[in-house]
């Protein structure tokens, strides 16, 4: 999963706005209580991915994660004994002991899996559609260490993925065939992990010699951001310059920046308000207890509308 530049409102927005929007969606997914709201958010993230032109990798990830979400649900129903509605008695099952499967445990597990899935999908949209270089510049102004960690992480993932592919090929070339199944995968994983520190050091050394941790103040930081706006316009993505205010000579805020920032604030505010006011409340234990579905549907609709509204403005986005 890596950033791919293409023409979409999310790509056109500055990384800070896009990142904030993703954070707001993840926050909403983590705080949502009602399954209808959570399901709507998962659906909304997928729709956003399609509208951002990164639908294929995000859907692929969703297909890969779905079984894991189900595994979470199964584990939950096996280990949690808080529900009152028993749907099956399995008797003594090592290592879990006496196992009674409850409806509440199952529903809570499914919701937990769906929550994890939604957050992972939000992260996938973030990785594919928010420019890490732009984010790095923004982060650097706030904290050098955070920016360094973010850069190492974003750069290291593709480097380690390439290492894993190569090591796996080399494993298959061994005279003994390199083994099969889980053992072979673990061997490759261990080799990649033992390479990771060396790789991180290589990348960090490169950052050092490119002057990343320069001690003197960055007198041109705001101006350099302006340059990146110019280069973004030049680079043939079909994005047109936006309007907006200029702060200290920096890159002007485009309508996409404003739209995604406003959307992020609205989604976060709605999610917070819903939680504080117990709107669309849902409790799994000891018995399933939910607010009327109408209330949940209304909240889900408002959240979806707020989250997807910035994609409606496609003026200047050349397909």
């Amino acid at each position: 999963m890596r950033y791919v530049r293409c023409a979409s409102p999310l790509h056109a927005a500055r990384a800070a706005a896009g990142g904030l929007w993703c954070c707001a969606l993840a926050f909403a997914a983590l705080t949502a209580e009602h399954p209808v709201v959570l399901g709507a958010l998962a659906l909304g993230v997928m729709v956003a991915a399609v509208l951002a032109g990164v639908g294929r990798p995000v859907v692929k990830l969703a297909c890969w994660l779905l079984p894991w979400a189900l595994v979470v649900a199964v584990i939950n129903v096996l280990v949690v004994r808080q529900g009152l509605t028993v749907i099956a008695r399995l008797g003594e099952v090592p290592p879990f002991g006496q196992v009674d499967l409850t409806l509440e445990g199952l529903v809570f597990g499914l919701m937990f899996g769906l929550r994890l899935l939604t957050v992972a999908l939000v992260f996938a949209v973030f990785s594919s559609a928010v420019d890490p270089d732009d984010l790095l510049r923004g982060l650097r102004r706030m904290s050098l260490r955070s920016a360094l960690a973010a850069t190492l992480a974003t750069r290291l993932v593709p480097v380690l993925a390439a290492d894993a592919r190569r090591i796996d090929e080399a494993r298959r070339c061994r005279a003994d065939g390199g083994g099969t199944g889980a053992g072979a995968r673990v061997a490759v994983l261990r080799a990649v992990a033992s390479n990771a520190l060396d790789r991180a050091l290589d990348v960090a050394a490169t950052l050092e010699v490119r002057g990343y941790a320069t001690a003197h103040p960055h007198r041109g930081q705001t101006r350099s951001v302006a340059f990146s706006a110019i280069s973004a316009k030049r680079n043939g993505t079909g994005l047109t310059p936006g309007w907006g205010r200029t702060r200290r000579g920096g890159r002007p805020w485009s309508r996409h920046d404003l739209a995604f920032t406003a959307s992020a604030v609205t989604v976060a505010a709605l999610a917070t308000a819903a939680r504080l006011q117990d709107v669309a409340h849902f409790g799994a234990y000891p018995q399933l207890a939910a607010d009327p579905v109408g209330q949940a549907l209304a909240l889900a609709a408002v959240l979806l509308l707020a989250a997807l509204a910035p994609f409606a403005n496609r003026r200047g986005i050349v397909p």
């Binding site: 270089d133 593709p158 290492d163 090929e169 070339c173 490169t206 050092e208 041109g220 340059f227 280069s231």
Partner: protein
């Protein structure tokens, strides 16, 4: 004029290392010099460059003594980030040297770090891109670039701030001969036109000696020789012959002086004028029916590629109808530019990839040694990686209890070879041994050792297929050379024909002798025979 780089009694030991990597190094590099750093593997070249970049000791830790000054900045007080305004660095592996997602961002990154104004950044990016011929790549994602392109981008990032000093650690090791030569000439141009001081560590000295003002040879972490190229070659002939260039070795073997610094220099020597006696070529021998290898040519091919295509989903073809037969005992070098399809062809031969069209047939197992020997190391002990007999066969029986990653580069490669060839591992003995760029980053002595091993494998009946950018190594190992371009063979013949007739895919000796010989020893014999002939006729 103030020196751009000085080392004063510098000694350095990596944290946890037994021995010193630098020992009492004293040297000075003046502005505008083009200095080549020579030496065998692990002689301290990379450490010296890292010390000049400030990474030693700030980044690597360890024990540091003495003083390094870069552009007037003492590296004990200024870290790599501060020094980056004076010295640009380029290391061996381009993959971990590109940190951002587009080429434009990558080139702008060092300038932004220095707080340059937008106009200066734009200009710096544009000029670096134009100088390196990567203007067309500016808006490409770095993840989509080839190794050669990545290396150029990394060099562009090192150059973008117009540093006074450029530190390069084997920048041509991943490049084909054309791109390698282009890079060296580009460095020469930067040196001449921008006045950039160049400090370049390189194993293939024949590539860069003609451009150099001075050569510093390292041995065991100390400066063993610091002299102009010709004086260095004279020193190497006496003290460290593997450091000689092929042309210098030819002169040394033929008893000619002074040693030449390049092809042009060598060809002007009176003894070399009019050398045209072409030896009995393999193809002629075949026509005469006296080819000793004709027997294995009649045997069933160990590997046969029949019209093999490899196409990506977007339609780009990496292999285009390749037909190739390899017989048992045959030694074939596969050459061509970066992206010509050499690695893909080897992967097809080993069954790691399936052709989109055509067929690959083998009579048995194909052992493939990929580019990075480290990728084969999966265990904590050398003995766990391969059987004792396999380790003994590559001369590693005495290091069986060591950690594989503690071995030297040459030893790790021998270990990888043992892993893929291991006859006791349960698999059958390989009928084909394929190697992808096995000499990358190797010194000449280690290459010669590998060549001997490959010849022995072929003598035992395996077909050997080596993809390489190194014409000297190809000439030493192969009796046949296949030249690939755009995914199809454009030349396939005896090494003496293919490696003698070109500019780029020819050995230095062949260029000096107009293709009369490929290797120094062969050319020296030729010259000696001619001198004897002339003496007799006189």
């Amino acid at each position: 004029m103030t020196s751009v780089l000085t080392f004063e009694a510098v000694s350095y030991t990596y944290a946890g290392a037994r021995g010193s990597s630098l020992r009492d190094v004293d040297l000075t590099v003046e502005p505008g010099e083009f200095v080549v750093l020579a030496g065998r593997s692990a002689s301290g070249k990379s450490t010296l460059l890292r010390a000049a970049a400030g990474l030693v000791p700030h980044f690597h830790g360890g024990t540091f003594g003495g003083r390094v000054t870069v552009g007037g900045l003492d590296t004990r007080e200024h870290g790599p980030a501060d020094l980056s305004s004076v010295a640009g660095s380029l290391f061996q592996d381009p993959e971990s040297q590109v940190v951002l997602t587009t080429v434009r961002s990558e080139l702008a990154f060092p300038l932004e770090n220095r707080g340059e104004a937008p106009a200066a950044i734009a200009r710096g990016v544009e000029e670096a891109a134009l100088a390196l011929g990567i203007g067309h790549l500016l808006d490409r994602p770095t993840a989509e670039l080839s190794g050669g392109e990545l290396q150029r981008v990394a060099l562009g990032a090192a150059l973008a701030g117009r540093p006074r000093l450029l530190l390069l650690d084997e920048p041509t090791s991943q490049l084909d001969p054309v791109a390698g030569d282009e890079l060296i000439w580009l460095l020469r141009r930067l040196n001449e036109e921008w006045g950039t001081t160049i400090l370049l560590a390189e194993h293939r000295l024949e590539r860069c000696l003609a451009a150099a003002d001075r050569v510093i040879a390292m041995a065991d972490g100390a400066v063993a020789c610091d002299a102009p190229p010709r004086a260095f070659l004279a020193w190497a002939a006496e003290h460290d012959p593997p450091l000689q260039t092929p042309a210098a070795r030819l002169f040394s073997l033929a008893g000619l002086t002074p040693p030449p610094t390049g092809v042009k220099d060598a060809r002007t020597h009176p003894a070399l004028t009019g050398v045209r006696p072409v030896p009995l070529h393999a193809s002629q021998a075949q026509r005469n029916g006296s080819d000793p290898e004709a027997g294995w040519r009649r045997a069933k091919p160990a590997l046969k590629l029949d019209g093999v295509w490899h196409e990506y989903r977007g339609g780009r073809a990496v292999l285009r109808g390749v037909d190739l037969k390899l017989h048992p005992g045959e030694r074939v070098a596969l050459m061509g530019r970066n992206g010509a399809g050499k690695s893909t062809l080897l992967r097809h031969a080993a069954g790691l990839m399936q052709p989109t069209r055509g067929k690959v047939k083998t009579t048995g197992r194909v052992a493939l040694l990929l580019q990075h020997p480290d990728d084969y190391l999966l265990h904590e002990r050398v003995a766990d990686e391969a059987s004792p007999s396999a380790l003994a066969a590559v001369g590693l029986a005495d290091v069986a209890d060591r950690h594989p990653r503690d071995l030297s580069g040459g030893q790790r490669q021998r270990l990888a070879l043992a892993i893929v060839l291991d006859g006791s591992a349960g698999g059958p003995d390989p009928v084909v041994v394929a190697l992808d760029e096995p000499t990358r980053g190797m010194d000449r002595a280690t290459k010669a050792d590998l060549a001997v091993r490959l010849r022995r494998l072929a003598a035992e009946g395996a077909a050997v297929l080596v993809a390489t950018h190194d014409p000297e190594f190809a000439a030493e190992v192969a009796d046949r050379v296949v030249l690939l371009a755009e995914g199809r063979p454009i030349a396939d013949g005896p090494a003496h024909e293919v490696l003698a007739g070109g500019w780029y895919f020819a050995t230095e000796t062949a260029r000096v002798t107009d293709g009369a010989a490929l290797l120094p020893a062969e050319a020296a014999r030729l010259l000696t025979a001619r001198v004897d002939r002339e003496a007799r006729s006189a």
